[in-house]
Symmetry: D2
Subunit: 344 residues, 4 copies
């Protein structure tokens, strides 16, 4: 039984475990004020070319999202997000639980555009409505697509024109940085966003998201938010050690590239067998349309999500590869798959 359900089914890359083990009995002060966190933050600032950015580390993505959003917004201000955005769909109302509305727009591919953002803005004109103030985008998106640097810059300009903050959820940032066709770099991201995260959980860490606050607006007292929301890890160095390990060399990109390559193999083979995809994604998430009876058969050997039906006999499935996916598992999966029928 091999699982393609997500990119966090395994533990951590061995070098991370090793680093944790080596420092295990050293004493450090708690709560992210230790030397490891400082070092990791320095690496991130340098990699991103933002000397003045504040960097904080938290355990999970929902925490990162609600903390950043809350720090930027006043109580009547709202988020603009794609209808498929993680903060809208998959966080059990975490943003609303901090009091903020998430204003959504449907998108074909999970990506916001200036035109879509402006549609939301146009609908909010007085104190009888919330005031949209922060644009939330995921990179890569929940549908496996990515924003090019040019697209991010256009959104940035749109945000500037309407006095909006731009926050990029990088839970799968590694994948975005290494997807074929993507021209994204750390500095380009830092130049476009007011804040962004660098996701560790989905790219080889035990857990952890690095929050990078580029613009000053959310910086003051950010640690107060972290503590109040239960997101301050006592042994904060666990986060520093992991991000130091991932980012001081190229490990972060290598792991993500592997995941993308595994998906590319699957994609290429599936296409060869006649399968089409519900979304044209090139990163580590694929959404092929598969016959329901084939899905039933595959489920005996593989785990993956089954999403919406496309017709009475076919459904979209979601395949996710990871830093730990063995090439052989991918090849076995596509080998086990019969050719697509005409409804795929």
């Amino acid at each position: 039984m091999y699982s393609f359900r997500n990119d966090y089914s395994e533990g951590a890359h061995p070098s991370i475990l090793r680093a944790l083990g080596e420092s295990n009995l050293e004493q450090t002060c708690g709560y992210g004020l230790d030397p490891c966190c400082r070092e990791a933050a320095g690496i991130i600032r340098e990699k991103c070319g933002v000397k003045d950015a504040d960097v904080h580390f938290v355990v999970g993505g929902t925490q990162a999202n609600l903390l950043v959003i809350q720090a930027f917004l006043r109580p009547f201000e709202a988020v603009i997000a794609a209808e498929t955005g993680h903060v809208n769909v998959h966080e059990t109302g975490a943003i609303e639980a901090t009091g903020h509305k998430v204003c959504t727009v449907p998108t074909p591919d999970g990506k916001l555009t200036p035109a879509l953002i402006e549609r939301v803005i146009a609908g909010h004109s007085s104190e009888h409505m919330v005031a949209p103030r922060l644009v939330y985008v995921s990179e890569t998106t929940e549908l496996g697509t990515f924003y090019t640097v040019r697209e991010l810059r256009e959104i940035r300009s749109c945000c500037d024109a309407h006095q909006l903050y731009l926050y990029v959820d990088g839970a799968r940032l590694g994948s975005a940085l290494t997807t074929p066709g993507s021209d994204l770099t750390f500095p380009a991201l830092a130049a476009a966003a007011d804040a962004f995260t660098i996701g560790g959980t989905k790219n080889g860490a035990l857990f952890g998201e690095a929050i990078v606050l580029v613009s000053d607006a959310a910086k003051p007292n950010f640690r107060w938010y972290i503590k109040q929301r239960g997101a301050m890890l006592a042994k904060g160095r666990l986060l520093g050690i992991q991000f130091r390990e991932l980012l001081r060399g190229d490990l972060y990109l290598e792991l993500a590239r592997h995941a993308n390559e595994m998906a590319a193999i699957a994609r290429e083979r599936l296409t060869a067998k006649g399968y089409r995809f519900a979304v044209d994604s090139r990163s580590n998430q694929l959404f092929p349309i598969v016959q329901d009876d084939v899905i039933r058969a595959l489920c005996r050997q593989y785990e993956f999500d089954v999403n919406e039906k496309t017709d009475p006999l076919h459904s979209v499935i979601r395949l996710v590869t990871s830093w730990a996916t063995p090439e052989e598992a991918v090849r076995a999966f596509v080998r086990d798959l019969p050719a697509a029928d005409s409804g795929c």
Copy 2:
């Protein structure tokens, strides 16, 4: 300058002012525990045929909505509403400010249906998403349409099937009870809803919404919610006196009927002049499509909202009549209007 902007531009029906004046120097206890509130609550229970309902009075509609919704829901539970629903659009995120997400669906006419409700339910399946738990409908809707008793019963059945509460925002309930074609009655409403409001502000009171809690779920400690949210009026009797005056006879229905009749006159004359309507509403809100140059001319003599454009030369306007609208004001308005052109 006559205003068709809303149904709360004037003060109160004279008999309400008179009742407030007559009792002015009597001493009563505060916070809605006075004999006037008790009497008004009794009248409502009787009119609605719900002996065991709890009745509370608050000053405004947003208060009523956030109180009822909060009392029914646990923190991770959410509201289902039409995209045009008042709680979604025009309350500055009041529901989200209490921590609850509002899950919306587009509708052609501002009305939810079992199918639309089930579409939302189908999209929420695990602890990674909010749990939709309360259906919010407005009667009449924000687009001037209304639910028939049959439609309400079908929604009720849908709610029962999915363990949802049904809350009816009756800010314009008077209008719904007296719209031509509506078969709604107080008892029919009380039989369908878990809770509903009877709006005073938009039907001749200085202010006030009666909250009727039919099912037991939201009853316990409701006064604690009222107080905590700043919605407990010190001189609570002002609410009791007004609702007693509106509801002990037929004043409430008479005032609403007048508003509807004024709209019917406008509607009939506008139709005769060739105007079409963006929404087929029969209550006291009309949405005719008018030439932009005509709108500009009208604005010198009348106040009304101008909504979205339908083409480069035409827009939808919103006309609202009230208990206080003189027939002559309506007749003057439609007289001042030239015939529609072909784009209307």
Copy 3:
């Protein structure tokens, strides 16, 4: 049965009712944007000598408190209040419901001092604790005492030294302005406070608190807060009309002075009969210590609160006089009271 339970047992001063009646059928725009509110705001700005202050009107005191506090504070910031402060005791956690902690200190007389404030400040030093940021005082206090101008200035200096906002809850401001021994004036208050309220509910209005935002910090988008919290009155002019009537001449002070004078009569007569007081208050709230059997007898003719016991045979009662209290009611009450015994 005459009630000394509070200062909001009756309706409104007749001249307020008259003003409401005279303008009843005029059309105005809603939500406090009407000419009456503008005029009342102008009167307040002039009376207080603060040209740049923002003035908003809301229906109730809990609303005013939670709105002002929320507008000044970020989510991790907290209020400093006396243990007896209204926001701490009598608002069902309304401040906490907006997410903010209320840090309290015991006081002998309901009044904060710089030393007490600094005791709270000293206890909060890092991101593991809330950050106290706003000082809440009531004028007059919940115990009927008042702050002199000098005391307010000392608190102001303390606030400046620690970067705290000073908010004065003036639910009983009229009483504070006219208590014998008080040197408070509107301009002196406005010079000391970052924000304060002028209470109408407890001084002759049907309802209403004027919120005066002196410093800029809470001004931006305050109407968004009002709407989000359900505190925006549709027929907002009702508030403007009432405050215009109370404040354009001396009515506000006259009504408060009457209440204070009625209390002074009671106080003088009670003292003559040998009663002592739990608090040395000179405003319209008195806290005499009375024999329990006398209390039981009085309860057959008068309403008032019975507070804590001082010994097995005596309790503190609370007597409140108002703008509407007839002198004869006071004289009858003290006449009906036997002499104090030695335990009072």
Copy 4:
């Protein structure tokens, strides 16, 4: 430089790291639904003698506290805690951020009693005040003291009499279970509390608190709360593995006993040298009173917290020992300490 600042300065007990390493590349499903979490939950249920308890694992103590409290309370309900309680002092208003007031009472030793609880209850009588509904106690307390089984049972009876929930914060539960003089056992705790936590962070885990929900009230949909508050760990098995390792044998108690023994040595030696203690604690937190000049000298070699001054020349310091404290570090510390002077 050796730190006695807290009990979470090091990583994890080696056997925990080993267990994490051994299972590192196994695939499991996420979010705490994996076999390791199931196994750990089973061990806890058995150890506590509560077959029907629900067990959840979260990363940190603030998360555990806010989740449990929120799940038990409705919005107007409040917590009763000692003034020194962690939820009152050291969580940056996390409980208030979920909307709930924390009602506090001063205590001599950090411990609540039925009499103190009833003092709070007595002060809350109507809808104008919050409704206290949950008693929060820490075991051991923030002052290093502990509740005996008899004391817990008395609090339980008090809770039953007043319809209060009892929640025991076991961040240092290991210490409470092994402090000399304590008769606490897992089953005794489970029999007294409606919910409690078993702290891992301060007793040898990398991180982690086990939440044990004994009574049914907070059980439904608890995973929704976890997710909404950002407390659902993607690789949830990390928590299961750690708690399985700590609790399947006696490791949890052994580690805590070691910490307590190290403190006992320090305590005995300090007493022998003439030092007195601000609190009579026998667990792994000590609060000796030390001369300020001695403190200054010690700070060059040791880290520890310096709390309040007891007179101009002496202060209370806080020493915390842990599962990882070497006996030699303790002996060196007390050796380096000169004899107490008469002010200690």
